[in-house]
Amino acid sequence: MTATTTGNPAAQAGATKPVIDAGEIELADVSKSYGAEGFAKEVVRDCSFLIERGKLTVMIGPSGCGKSTLIRLLAGFEKPDSGTIKIDGKTVSGPGRDRLVLFQETALFPWMTTFENIMYGPTARGEGGEQSRAQAAFLLDKVGLTAFRDKYPTQLSGGMQRRAELARAMINNPRVMILDEPFRGLDAMSKELMWEYYASLYEESRRTNFFVTTDIDEAIFLADRILIMTNAPARVRAVIEIDVPRPRRLVDIVNNERANEVKMQALSLLHEEAMKSFAGGSKAAADFVEAYSKRMTRAKPQ
């Protein structure tokens, strides 16, 4: 594999590129349930894992396993019933700019242009000066939206909206970026384009990223580490290290032996979990089981 960097000239980057301060999040015995006493449904139980500093951690698990709940807990929108969530040793007590979240659907402010959206954080904190504007312009270029800087979100395609949102989060220089199935609902072409954009943004910054998905190909292409979750209540079932070298390109990963090996391993673990929720009556799990069996029969002859 030939590693070619696609970075901008150092001179341009030097003035605007922020110093990356990667953080680390540790969950210890976190539990969370919803509903009234006696009818409470436990969504997360004694869940512990580490989001390692400067790594791209991908969490994957069957639909409805409690991944979104974990995200709300990590972001600080909700509090765990028991257990602790610490970022760099400090307990998380609410939302903060050190942990920014990209939601499943776009949360760009519809009344602001792309540029205004990206500038929201700096302006809100009274840092809307020339330096931030230059950095916003730099990020716009990074996500390929310079021509769309004065367009409103409704004038952007689904993929462009996601890229604008990545830029809006990154300008705040969070210690950890949290992404909740960000590319769900995009068509196959835009999705693969987004993977490459996102992977190269990560490879350049080496910021701590936590990425939640249900798509195994997405997970393997992007991840340094994959956390495979159990069926609800959510816990970590297995951790797989993906030691495929970076920068990664889609063409490389498709033919990478190690990547295919990991995929089979991950799929069989996911299959077990899906079977459990299938037995519990989950329709999404039934779809997964069917797709999985087709995939395995196709993969075997190799």
Binding site: A75, P95, A107, P110, W111, M112, G121, A124, Y152, Q155
Partner: protein, 277 residues
């Protein structure tokens, strides 16, 4: 044929324009026919015969165009509508925003608001005449009520339906409460404010005309010239000049249309992100 010419022709002769013109023409024609004969194609239409013909209305109108009193009526009604409408916006928008933002404030004000809201503005006319020192103020107050409740309800609904993720994102990026109010709540509510304003404006015109008729036109010193278009219609009815009744009616229609159109344009100006898709 030049390009501009083609464009002009297309605009004038577009299907919608042709339909609009045809509809208006047929309407006026039927009206004219109806008022000239007691029967349409053998069917008796006695009530249409009592209405002045469009040609007669037009003749009366052409005489009124030079009359200062007629324009004074326009002026007075428009003034009352604008005064009532602007007061409704100035009081209604902050009130609605406060009700949406503060739970405590909402708990205190909402019950009173909900009891007062179903009372039709016209039911306020007698009380308002008793309460306010001048006739003028009582008419404006009733006009204000017409728009006020609609504006408040729309603002509250609009502010409450803003996506919670916008607040979460803004908060996470380090925005203060004031910044969230100014840059999320306010623009997020703007489309509903525009809707509330245009609906409110329509009600305002309904109310002002009725209020002018009931209260006798306010401080009209020179024989009803200060009475507004509502009083103009009523006065024409009492005086037996039936053409002028219709002139007054059409005048209100035109005035209302101009106000709605103005508001629509202003609305587009204030919410540029809604038209660009």
């Amino acid at each position: 044929m030049s390009n501009a010419m083609v464009k002009f022709r297309k605009a004038v002769l577009s299907r919608s324009t042709r339909r609009a013109l045809t509809s208006l023409l047929v309407f006026v024609l039927l009206w004219e026919l109806g008022s000239r004969s007691k029967a349409w194609f053998g069917v008796a239409m006695p009530w249409v015969g009592n209405i002045p013909a469009p040609s007669a209305v037009l003749a009366a109108w052409s005489k009124l165009v030079g009359d200062l009193g007629y324009w004074q009526s326009w002026y007075m009604s428009t003034l009352r509508v604008l005064a009532g409408f602007i007061a409704a916006m100035l009081i209604g928008i902050p009130l609605g925003l406060m009700m949406a933002v503060s739970r405590t404030f909402n708990d205190i004000t909402f019950p009173t608001f909900e009891v007062l809201r179903p009372i039709p503005p016209l039911a306020w006319v007698p009380a308002s005449i008793l309460f306010w020192p001048t006739q003028e103020l009582s008419i404006t107050f009733v006009t204000f009520l017409g728009a006020f409740f609609t504006v408040v309800i729309n603002v509250v609904g609009g502010a409450k339906s803003i996506d919670i993720r916008y607040f979460q994102s803004a908060q996470a990026m380090g925005a203060s409460q004031w910044d969230i109010f100014r840059r999320i709540v306010l623009p997020g509510t703007l489309p509903s404010i525009v809707v509330g304003a245009s609906v409110g404006m329509g009600i305002t015109w309904n109310v002002v005309v009725a209020a002018e008729m009931i209260s006798g036109g306010g401080g009209g010193q020179s024989g009803g010239s200060g009475g507004g278009l509502g009083y103009f219609i009523w006065n024409s009815y009492v005086g037996g000049s039936y053409e002028q009744i219709v002139v007054g009616m059409i005048s209100i229609g035109i005035a209302g249309y101009l106000c709605s159109e103005g508001l629509r344009r202003a609305g587009i100006l204030f919410t540029p992100w809604l038209r660009s898709r």
